[in-house]
């Protein structure tokens, strides 16, 4: 008596891990990246719910409590958890509100340099004869200038302020996107699938944006997260130089600058904004590293 084993039809598509699951698996193996992500989630939460999270109005001056130390130090007040600054404003509230500005500057400058950067990189890669070298030489010139100096020059021309700071940072970080995109495009253009797409009748716009661009995204995503952190840093630097966001707006760099006279008497006024900048930049960089490890198949399983 033979038993007939009927083959069970297994839906193959169920066996593949979904791209998101695969990505999370790779990302979560990097503990530093997860820690960075946690911190960033906290910062984002603070930024979104700042008016409810912050204990005080960031511009409210409590004249009786100038330069109050943080609560755990001698002379600290429980209502000012991280102390107050030289005008009696609550430091914690200012830091929380400052995260809004920093994230706004980071996000908008990344978007403002990512989109033109990708476009210019695509064109540079697709037209290697005249347009490509022209764009690349232009980018080389921009790269030859120290980025902060260039940003300072741009702000000096446009005048200080939030929007101009964003524009300056976006312009400064443009070359790296252009170069990355172009390199990725040139690598992909030699692949057979691009020839196959041309064979199948794809026109230039379709070739650029549908066929090639999605395959160039991995390095760009990583670069975007990393330049997010450098945007925050640049914004702080511009603020420190008095060229960024103007007081009394609570911006981390501006806070640093206005507090530096009190560095010997009241260390917390300087250290806490500095520490916040340090931690958020570190968190974003860790996260970016994790993203790169998770998105770049060449580095997968290498660690």
């Amino acid at each position: 008596m033979t038993t007939l084993t009927t083959p069970v039809a297994v839906d193959q598509s169920l066996l593949y891990p979904s791209p998101y699951k695969e990505f999370w698996h790779a990302f979560s193996r990097n503990k530093g990246a997860v820690a960075g992500l946690m911190f960033m989630l906290l910062v984002i939460f603070c930024a979104i719910f700042a008016p409810w999270v912050a204990p005080h109005n960031p511009s409210e001056q409590y004249r009786d409590f100038l330069l109050t130390p943080p609560a755990w130090l001698e002379g600290g007040q429980i209502q000012f958890l991280l102390g107050t600054d030289e005008l009696g404003r609550d430091l914690l509230s200012r830091l929380i509100n400052g995260s809004r500005l920093s994230l706004l500057i980071g996000l908008s400058s990344v978007v403002m340099s990512l989109i033109p950067g990708i476009l210019m990189g695509l064109f540079a890669g697709f037209f290697p004869r005249i347009l490509g070298p022209t764009i690349m030489r232009l980018m080389d010139i921009m790269l030859a200038l120290p980025s902060l100096l260039l940003a300072v020059a741009i702000v000096a021309i446009l005048g200080p302020g939030l929007i101009n700071t964003i524009i300056a940072i976006a312009v400064v970080s443009l070359p790296s996107y252009v170069r990355l995109t172009r390199a990725a495009v040139m690598g992909e253009l030699n692949r057979d699938y691009v020839t196959a797409a041309r064979l199948a009748g794809a026109g230039l716009p379709r070739l650029m944006f549908v066929t090639v661009l999605p395959n160039c995204m991995a390095p760009l995503i990583v670069q975007a997260t990393l330049s997010f952190s450098s945007a925050i840093l640049d914004a702080a630097a511009l603020g420190f130089l008095g060229l960024g966001v103007q007081p009394p707006t609570p911006e981390w760099g501006t806070m640093l600058a206005s507090a530096r006279d009190y560095i010997e008497r009241a260390w917390w006024v300087v250290s806490l904004p500095g520490l916040t900048i340090l931690l958020s930049v570190l968190a974003i960089n860790l996260m970016g590293d994790g993203l790169r490890d998770a998105l770049d198949p060449k580095l997968k399983n290498a660690a």
């Binding site: 598509s13 699938y193 020839t195 199948a200 009748g201 999605p214 395959n215």
Partner: protein, 322 residues
């Protein structure tokens, strides 16, 4: 009239005086015919097909007396007109299946794309047809593979998908550019069987570019042997294999390892294909030819009819055999 007619095709890279990569090539393919193009690397096999499809870009220069496909002059077409033919009536299968598919999109999407573009199918219709095509190229569990990304498929599987994409537009002529080179031997046989079965079923013309003479012997009706951009011998399959007229064809056949059984060394043809700066004045094979004569070094032979085939040689071999 032939499906594909190429007359005196020249492809150069650089200026007008550059050494031609393809030099005065004549090829015809009829409906339902299998033509094999063989020759060592750099002999211009792939460039010929790229020229046909209008994919030679600056600084390449393509000239031909005729480059007709299905009654249309491919040289005269605008880009838009060419795009309507290429990919539908004229399709290609590439050498390396791992790079022939776009890694960002699912297999199903990529096949449906061709169907929607060239056959104007709607979403549902295209999906059904794509599954049908995947079944046709013998992919198990075709419906579930539709959502797979190329990196989830093996090389042989990817090549099957690439073939499915190529035949999606029901082409009149399929060009297979070394379709089995990147695959292992058992898969090679399967892919060749598949290609030939499809060719017979749809009565396509098939141009098979390959290094593998065994494949040619089994499958092709006619062979064109290329050397340094020129066709050196064009003939019917059994004759060209049994009694090659051109010394280069003979050397190619001798170089098959099975023909050197028992010998201490495999048979080879010394030297390399002449490059841009060392092209001989006479017959291009003259520096390497074992039968070279004095006038071979100074004059170039033309591709003339010999007793069994067309050969480009002053002193063709095996002519005495009736």
């Amino acid at each position: 009239m032939s499906l594909l007619e190429i007359k005196n095709l020249n492809v150069r890279f650089g200026d007008k005086n550059a050494v031609p990569v393809v030099d005065g090539l004549d090829i015809t393919v009829d409906k339902g015919e299998v033509l094999a193009i063989v020759g060592e690397s750099g002999s211009g096999k792939s460039v010929t097909m790229m020229a046909l499809m209008g994919l030679i870009e600056h600084p390449g220069i393509v000239t031909a007396d005729a480059l007709n496909f299905d009654g249309k002059n491919m040289l005269k077409l605008s880009n838009r007109q060419r795009r309507q033919i290429v990919g539908k009536d004229l399709a290609m299968v590439f050498q390396d299946p791992m790079t022939a598919l776009n890694p960002s999109y699912t297999v199903g999407f990529q096949i449906e794309e061709v169907l929607r573009l060239h056959l104007k199918m709607s979403g549902k219709q295209a999906r059904a047809r794509a599954i049908e095509l995947l079944e046709k190229v013998e992919i198990p569990g075709a419906a579930s593979r539709m959502n797979a990304y190329p990196h989830q498929l093996s090389g042989g599987m990817s090549q099957r998908v690439a073939i499915a994409m190529a035949i999606a537009g029901e082409p009149k002529l399929l060009i297979a550019d070394e379709p089995t080179t990147a695959l292992d031997v058992t898969i090679q046989a399967q892919i060749m069987d598949l290609l030939l079965a499809l060719q017979k079923e749809q009565n396509m013309g098939l141009v098979l570019i390959t290094h593998d003479l065994a494949v040619v012997a089994e499958t092709a009706q006619r062979v064109c042997v290329m050397y340094a951009g020129q066709a050196v011998e064009v003939g019917q399959v059994p004759q060209l294999f049994d009694i090659p007229a051109h010394p280069y064809s003979e050397a190619l056949l001798k170089a098959i390892p099975e023909h050197s059984l028992g010998a201490a060394r495999l048979s080879t043809l010394p030297g390399i294909v002449p490059g841009r700066y060392d092209r001989p004045q006479g017959c291009l094979l003259s520096p390497r030819c074992p039968y070279v004569q004095e006038n071979c070094r100074t004059q170039r032979p033309a591709l003339d009819p010999k007793s069994h085939s067309l050969a480009r040689c002053f002193y063709p071999l095996n002519q005495e055999v009736a």
